[in-house]
């Protein structure tokens, strides 16, 4: 499988400057791509467009040449920076896993999720523990691409290493496509097979269309 963004342009409002202009990007299954670029440059926006959370004004996102499915289970799953926002605070953790049908021994074991966490509420777990659930939730059978939007930025170094090790193992075993946004160049080097600088593929500022 291959996911491809073709000539994507995006702005939040007609009177606002373009954030992304004519961005083309493509990721193969089994590839691990790092997306780097300065803060506020549209990395997260691009990721949200590629995973179908936002509609680009121009251009299209294609999965094997077909548009992304609008309804039903998405083969592209996004993991957010703040796990506490991505989990319903009124749900016990068991239900979070059940929501995606990932309440399964092997996944929990692979990600180091302990049994007694399952009966707790999100506020009773730490950020690193919650992020494991977010990863586990995204790793169901239909997933082909995982997008990690600064997934480990809020975590301490040891937890970061743990989560990435577990994640890489899964990604490699199942040959998932991975797109990660990070400000940590060393992490990107370690994890990725290819690094894309958004500055180089984003065409704002040309033809007088740019910001400002």
């Amino acid at each position: 499988m291959q996911i491809e963004g073709k000539n994507i342009s995006f702005r939040y409002h007609e009177r606002m400057p373009w954030i992304l202009k004519d961005v083309s990007i493509s990721i193969e299954e089994g590839e691990r791509v790092g997306l780097v670029g300065p803060s506020g440059y549209g990395k997260s926006t691009l990721m949200r467009i590629l995973s179908g959370y936002l509609e680009p004004q121009e251009g299209s996102v294609r999965l094997d040449g077909k548009p992304l499915p609008k309804k039903g289970i998405s083969p592209v799953q996004l993991i957010y920076q703040h796990p506490e926002k991505a989990i319903n605070p009124r749900w016990k953790m068991k239900k979070v896993l059940e929501e995606s049908g990932m309440f399964r021994e092997e996944v929990m074991e692979a990600l180091g999720i302990e049994r007694d966490w399952l009966n707790r509420y999100p506020r009773e777990l730490s950020g690193g523990e919650l992020q494991r659930f977010c990863v586990a939730r995204s790793l169901f059978q239909g997933t082909h691409f995982l997008f990690a939007d600064e997934m480990s930025t809020m975590l301490d170094v040891i937890t970061q290493a743990q989560i990435w090790n577990l994640m890489l193992k899964e990604v490699k075993e199942r040959r998932l496509g991975l797109l990660m946004v990070t400000h940590n160049a060393e992490l990107a080097k370690k994890v990725c097979t290819r690094i894309i600088n958004l500055k180089e593929i984003n065409h704002i500022g040309e033809n007088g269309n740019g910001a400002g």
Binding site: S51, G52, Y53, K71, G72, I73, S74, V76, Q77, L78, Y80, H82, K85, A86, I87, N88, P89, R90, E99, S100, Y121, R123, E124, R137, F140
Partner: protein, 273 residues
């Protein structure tokens, strides 16, 4: 005894609830013999035998007040439950993302809120044939607006959360998300809104009845008692209005306390601390 604030609050809420239930049951089980006319006892001042005095027909005012409050509590319960359910449905529908529906609901809310409340109540109650039915319908379909607004904005806020987006990408339908993600978040708002609607409903029932557009005169309702007592106030029979009025205020305040304390208990941010 060393109780934390949460436990104290729960005990407090339990006590209030018990008092209200007791008033309701007392009114229900007091036999009609106690409020039978007895002209040998008419117009008595409050005494040990008749703590609230008797009226010009010699009926015991304590028994009448209890019966009246019981009716008020039923009207309050039914009317505010119906109102709260309307508010929940309307609020969730308005926030479902369908733009014309949202506009329509907001227009309805403005319309109902824009008409002076008592006038609207009188009109509806009158159109529905007065009596218990008229009062119930009138109170039920005029009190949902405030809560509907709160629920609408709550739902809008929840809908924009990341976990809703994630749920959608995990293949769940709008209905599944509404039932599993959104409605559980509405439970505290709904219950508190419901209980805080009680005082309004009871007050409006009494005022409608007082004005003569509500319950029929033979029903022992607080509004009836108060409007009858007006005729005798100038004759110095203050107890006819004072005790029933005071009891009404106490019941209303108890409901208000109950709601406020439940709000503190159910506040989602302190629920698991």
């Amino acid at each position: 005894m060393n109780l934390n604030r949460r436990t104290k609050m729960i005990v407090f809420v339990g006590v209030i609830f018990a008092v209200l239930a007791a008033v309701y049951l007392a009114g229900l089980f007091i036999s009609d013999d106690f409020i039978a006319a007895d002209f040998s006892q008419k117009g008595l001042k409050p005494s040990w035998e008749h703590p609230f005095g008797t009226d010009m027909l010699g009926r015991d005012m304590l028994a009448r007040t209890m019966k009246g409050l019981s009716v008020s509590i039923i009207v309050g319960t039914v009317a505010s439950t119906v109102s709260a359910v309307i508010a929940l449905i309307v609020g969730v529908a308005a926030a479902s993302g369908v733009s014309w529906l949202d506009h329509f609901v907001n227009w309805m809310i403005d319309l109902v809120m824009g008409i002076p409340h008592t006038v609207l109540l009188i009109l509806i109650s009158f159109a529905c044939g007065k009596g218990l039915k008229g009062v119930l319908i009138g109170v039920a379909i005029t009190h949902w607006t405030g809560l509907a607004r709160i629920i609408r904005s709550e739902v809008l806020q929840i809908r924009s959360q990341q976990y809703i987006e994630v749920s959608r990408k995990l293949g769940h339908s709008s209905r599944w998300i509404t039932v599993h993600h959104i409605l559980p978040h509405m439970v505290p708002q709904f219950l508190i809104g419901l209980i805080l609607m009680f005082p309004h409903a009871i007050m409006h029932e009494s005022s409608l009845t007082f004005l003569g557009f509500g319950l029929p005169p033979e029903q022992p309702a607080i509004g009836i008692i108060l409007s009858e007592s007006m005729q005798y106030l100038s004759a110095g029979m203050w107890w006819l209005a004072f005790f029933p009025g005071l009891m009404l205020v106490i019941i209303v305040l108890l409901f208000d306390r109950l709601g406020e304390n439940l709000k503190k208990i159910m506040d989602p941010y302190s629920a698991h601390e």
